[in-house]
């Protein structure tokens, strides 16, 4: 892992909403094939940080580089226009807490929409690929159902397939299991675990500590808009140094399944 090249590099990301400084100069590097798990109390800025990475939110300061692209900049250093930015944004896949599937489209159409409308892939080809991605996520029987006909766990897997279909370099997950009934959490975590094992680069915001322990190459603890501590899961969970992290882990203790 150490020898892998850096794929995503965020430097000095700051963001305020009004008077509230939500992110204060956050730095994070993610290596090719690495799974980074971000933990932290609610309101510590985890979602905002992920959204700054793929420019759903525009940071007030800082830069995000992915491979040889600086998000928001063209190769010649001038500001990217909207179309260019859209192209850069799809280097990141994004999986939302509440799935955000397109309710008017079937699972296959949800997955095929990006390839068709962004990459210009013909419909038949895009839908064949979509069925392939859905099958890989165990949804072969559900390709023609609309989101409203699927369980939360199935919907979130469709959302993962939708991200995968764009061949992103890295996938950002924002609490992908927080909106799910407890019995549906595992199927989504299993899908993510399989992705990590296949070498997908992932940044995962989650409260699932068992997943973090087992799958993360590195865990990042955010507090008050900063990275307070980071390291391999054994160190971070086994010997936390930051006092806020210690408190955070103690609070989780009762509900942690080991």
């Amino acid at each position: 892992m150490v020898t892998r090249p850096v794929l995503v590099e965020a430097r000095g990301i700051s963001k305020s909403f009004g008077a509230r400084n939500v992110l204060q100069s956050v730095d994070l590097s993610v290596h090719e094939g690495e799974t980074v798990v971000i933990i932290g109390a609610s309101g510590s800025g985890k979602t905002t940080f992920l959204r700054c990475l793929n420019r759903l939110e525009t940071p007030d300061a800082g830069t995000v580089r992915i491979a040889d692209v600086t998000i928001g900049q063209r190769a010649d250093g001038r500001p990217a226009d909207e179309r260019e930015l859209a192209n850069q944004r799809r280097l990141f896949g994004f999986v939302f807490q509440r799935f955000n599937l397109f309710p008017h489209l079937t699972a296959a159409q949800n997955v095929a929409l990006g390839p068709r409308r962004v990459l210009g892939i013909p419909r038949a080809q895009a839908e064949a690929r979509a069925v392939q991605e859905l099958t890989r996520l165990g949804l072969a029987d559900h390709v023609n159902k609309r989101p409203g006909q699927l369980s939360g766990g199935q919907q979130q897997r469709v959302a993962i397939a939708r991200a995968l279909a764009m061949d992103p370099r890295v996938i950002l997950f924002d609490e992908p299991t927080s909106a799910l009934d407890p019995e549906l959490v595992q199927e989504v975590l299993d899908a993510m675990r399989a992705l990590a094992a296949e070498g997908m680069t992932m940044v995962v915001v989650t409260h699932e500590m068992r997943f973090a322990r087992q799958v993360a190459d590195r865990v990042v603890f955010m507090a008050d808009g900063r990275i307070a501590e980071e390291g391999p899961p054994e160190t971070l969970f086994g010997a936390p140094r930051d006092e806020r992290l210690q408190r955070f882990l103690r609070h989780l203790e009762p509900q942690r399944d080991l």
């Binding site: 793929n54 759903l56 909207e82 179309r83 859209a86 192209n87 944004r89 799809r90 990141f92 896949g93 994004f94 939302f96 509440r98 955000n100 599937l101 397109f102 309710p103 008017h104 929409l113 990006g114 409308r117 962004v118 609309r146 989101p147 409203g148 939708r162 991200a163 279909a165 764009m166």
Partner: protein, 217 residues
Amino acid sequence: MYFDWNVVTYAAPLLAHGVVMTLQVSAVAAVLGLLLGLAAGLASLSNSVLLRGVIRLYVEFIRGTPLLIQIFLVFFALPVIGIRLPEFWAGVVALALNAGAYIAEVVRGTVGSIEKGQSEAGLSIGMTRRATLMWVLLPQAWRPMVPALTNDLITLTKNSSLLSVISVYELTRAGQAIIATHFAPFEIFLLLALYYWALISALAYVSRRIERALPSW
């Protein structure tokens, strides 16, 4: 009170001619108004400040002035700059311009009310704002738009009676002509009201059918 049934039986079939004209002028204006309103509504959601400003101005102007004045402007003012339209088309243009502004607001409001997560999901897979609008937001907006659009088209149909002032021989004008020769304003206006009512009811019925036929999720 004296009610002249003879004039009613005499006028009822004559007014059918006016009904046809009302339907024609309203239908053509409705189609143009819908297209204009859709285009203007989408433009008001675009990135372009200039485009949004122009649409804003158009909508404010239409909403801030009486339709009667707008009709006169199209009929009497356009010829001054060299555009002379026959009564029918002047009427169509005035009604379409008027309805287009209200429809633009419906389109803008409905598309804008679709949950923010939808456009963010579109952006997250590399779509531009425009592509998100076309493929994600608009398809979800059709059905919730139908009731408000129906209102606007009903208003348009009722407003077509104002075209009598520029001598479009629609229902109201046809009625006025009969009143002028038979002096039975009560009977004729009552008849006109019933005709309009029937027309509008039919329109509302069709709209409910369309709404039900559109998919929901």
